[in-house]
């Protein structure tokens, strides 16, 4: 049995729905993904704080710094890195790009062959 990796693309949102400085979360395959746009550039990280349960879309974006609204953990939306506060683990970063007015997530799917 062999395993083949296939690329697939999922539409997460319309480009116009993610406005500069306004964090927006979407749910894809049960995962909450937080989309942000900073100086026009789109970023996608996991949407739940790694410290305690809190949705990061409720937080505040200051440039590329994202603050959680519960305990004020602070992450870099470009890299997911912890910048401040109680969180120990970085946010996961998702590969996203924009095409024809859509925001697309690229992911690898493992397909088992014969």
């Amino acid at each position: 049995m062999t395993t083949v990796e296939e690329q697939e693309y999922l539409v997460l949102a319309r480009s116009q729905d993610v406005r500069e400085g306004e964090p927006t979360s979407v749910v894809s395959d049960g995962e909450v993904i937080l989309l942000t746009r900073v100086h026009g550039q789109l970023h996608a990280v996991s949407g739940i704080c790694t410290h305690a349960y809190s949705e990061l879309a409720d937080g505040e974006l200051d440039g590329t710094r994202l603050y959680c609204s519960l305990h004020f953990a602070c992450f870099d939306v470009r890299t997911g890195a912890v910048l401040e506060g109680p969180a120990e683990h970085p946010l996961r970063v998702y590969p996203v790009f924009e095409q024809d007015g859509d925001i697309l997530l690229r992911r690898e799917r493992r397909v088992q062959g014969a």
Binding site: D58, G59, S69, L70, F72
Partner: protein
């Protein structure tokens, strides 16, 4: 000021751990000793009455920092060790077992301790307090045998325990001495709201009623109240408030409802600092005592820096805490022992509202935010700014708080 070469931190709660992290981040390379009377690797307390009690997280999940951090920080972490005496001339601490630890500087981060109930029968099996991981683990284990629970005190801990236990299907009675829960902090209007919240979740809330005795042969079978009622139960949880824990005393160490510190975190003993729940500290002209997680973190961070710094920075962070009850998230920013007016956005009926507390000059003192987390950071800044705000604008939902 010479830079310290040995620092001792007494207490490994969230304040003590934050101080360790800050000292190392700020480049302190000297000896660092942390003593705590608990046996467990330092853990986070807020989940104890919430997720831990509900059984959705484990003890490992709530460690404050992973074990690797303690090695990386090069800390002499001494658990089950109780520091009992300080000698400011010899610069030593003495432990309960007689060990002597030398210091250049000390941080007292001894936290808070629960108020105890003194009624007949209180020592029976089945009566629980909730402060430590051990307390929470014992309560959680016992709950499987409990159908009826009595919670004494409708403060934040009592309310969270009631909420968690209702979700587990227990029959819950809450006894509250005051007319409304939390009214001393939030006012009568919100006190009434929180009373209805309990009732809406089928909790039998009895106000202006206190416990006078616990009855049972070998373990609790019922409690007797000040109104002469007997309530059948298999467990009692007591949540009647906390006070500063000040185990280390000295004639020159000023203690008044807690270790008295100045804006820089200094106690009255040279070289001895204190942070977090164990302190009373100056906030806008009043000496206040705050026993919440965020204060412990921020206070310890600032004071740890001050322990190293040539130029110290005053601590004046706007206090903040949160409470999860019945699927709702309540967040409170600021500090208001009294206020002259309140303004509300949103709807209590929908459990989505923000109530703001103002002084006579229209300055925002505090706010209770119910399920509107986006309001919290901007309101905290508005409180910090201390300038008068327009009441109409505060009320106007169309205006973001960041615009005021």
């Amino acid at each position: 000021m010479h830079s310290p070469t040995s620092i001792v931190i007494v207490g490994a709660g969230v304040a003590g751990v934050q101080a360790v992290e800050t000292l190392r981040r700020e480049g302190y390379e000297g000896a660092l000793t942390v003593v705590d009377k608990a046996a467990e690797i330092p853990y986070d307390r807020p989940p104890l009455s919430k997720e831990f009690l509900a059984g959705t997280v484990t003890a490992e999940d709530i460690a404050l920092r992973s074990p690797g951090h303690w090695n990386q920080w090069d800390v002499d972490l001494r658990l089950t060790v109780e520091a009992t005496q300080i000698d400011p001339r010899e610069h030593t601490l003495t432990t309960a077992s007689g060990d002597v630890i030398a210091w250049d500087k000390v941080l007292l981060a001894t936290g808070s301790t629960l108020r105890e109930l003194k009624v007949p029968g209180i020592t029976l099996d089945g009566v629980f307090y909730l402060k430590t991981l051990e307390d929470a683990a014992r309560l959680r284990a016992a709950l499987s045998e409990v159908q009826e629970l009595v919670v004494v005190g409708a403060g934040f801990i009592g309310a969270e325990v009631a909420s968690t236990c209702r979700k587990r299907g227990l029959h819950v009675t809450v006894l509250e001495m005051m007319k409304y829960p939390l009214a001393h902090i939030l006012g009568e209007d919100l006190g009434h709201y929180f009373a209805r919240l309990h009732e809406a979740h089928d909790v039998d809330l009895r106000t202006e009623e206190s416990i006078v005795a616990v009855h049972g042969k070998t373990r609790v079978e019922s409690v007797e109240t000040s109104k002469g009622q007997t309530i059948s139960c298999q467990a009692v949880v007591v949540g009647v408030g906390v006070m500063a824990n000040t185990p280390i005393l000295h004639e020159q160490l000023e203690v008044s409802r807690g270790y008295v510190v100045d804006a820089f975190g200094r106690t009255s003993l040279p070289g001895v600092f204190a942070a977090g729940d164990c302190t009373v500290w100056p906030y806008r002209g009043h000496m206040i005592h705050v026993e919440h997680w965020d204060h412990a973190v921020q206070h310890a961070k600032t004071i740890a820096r001050n322990m190293l710094a040539e130029e110290m920075v005053p601590y004046d962070t706007v206090p903040y805490f949160w409470s999860d009850q019945y699927g709702n998230r309540y967040q409170y920013v600021g500090h208001a022992a009294k206020w002259s007016q309140t303004v509300t956005r949103g709807s209590q009926a929908e459990h989505r509202f923000t109530q703001m507390y103002l002084d006579e000059e229209n300055r925002l003192l505090a706010a209770l935010v119910a399920n509107r987390p986006k309001d919290v950071m901007s309101l905290r800044r508005l409180i910090d700014a201390r300038r008068p705000v327009d009441r109409m604008q505060l009320e106007n939902e169309a205006l973001s708080f960041t615009q005021l």
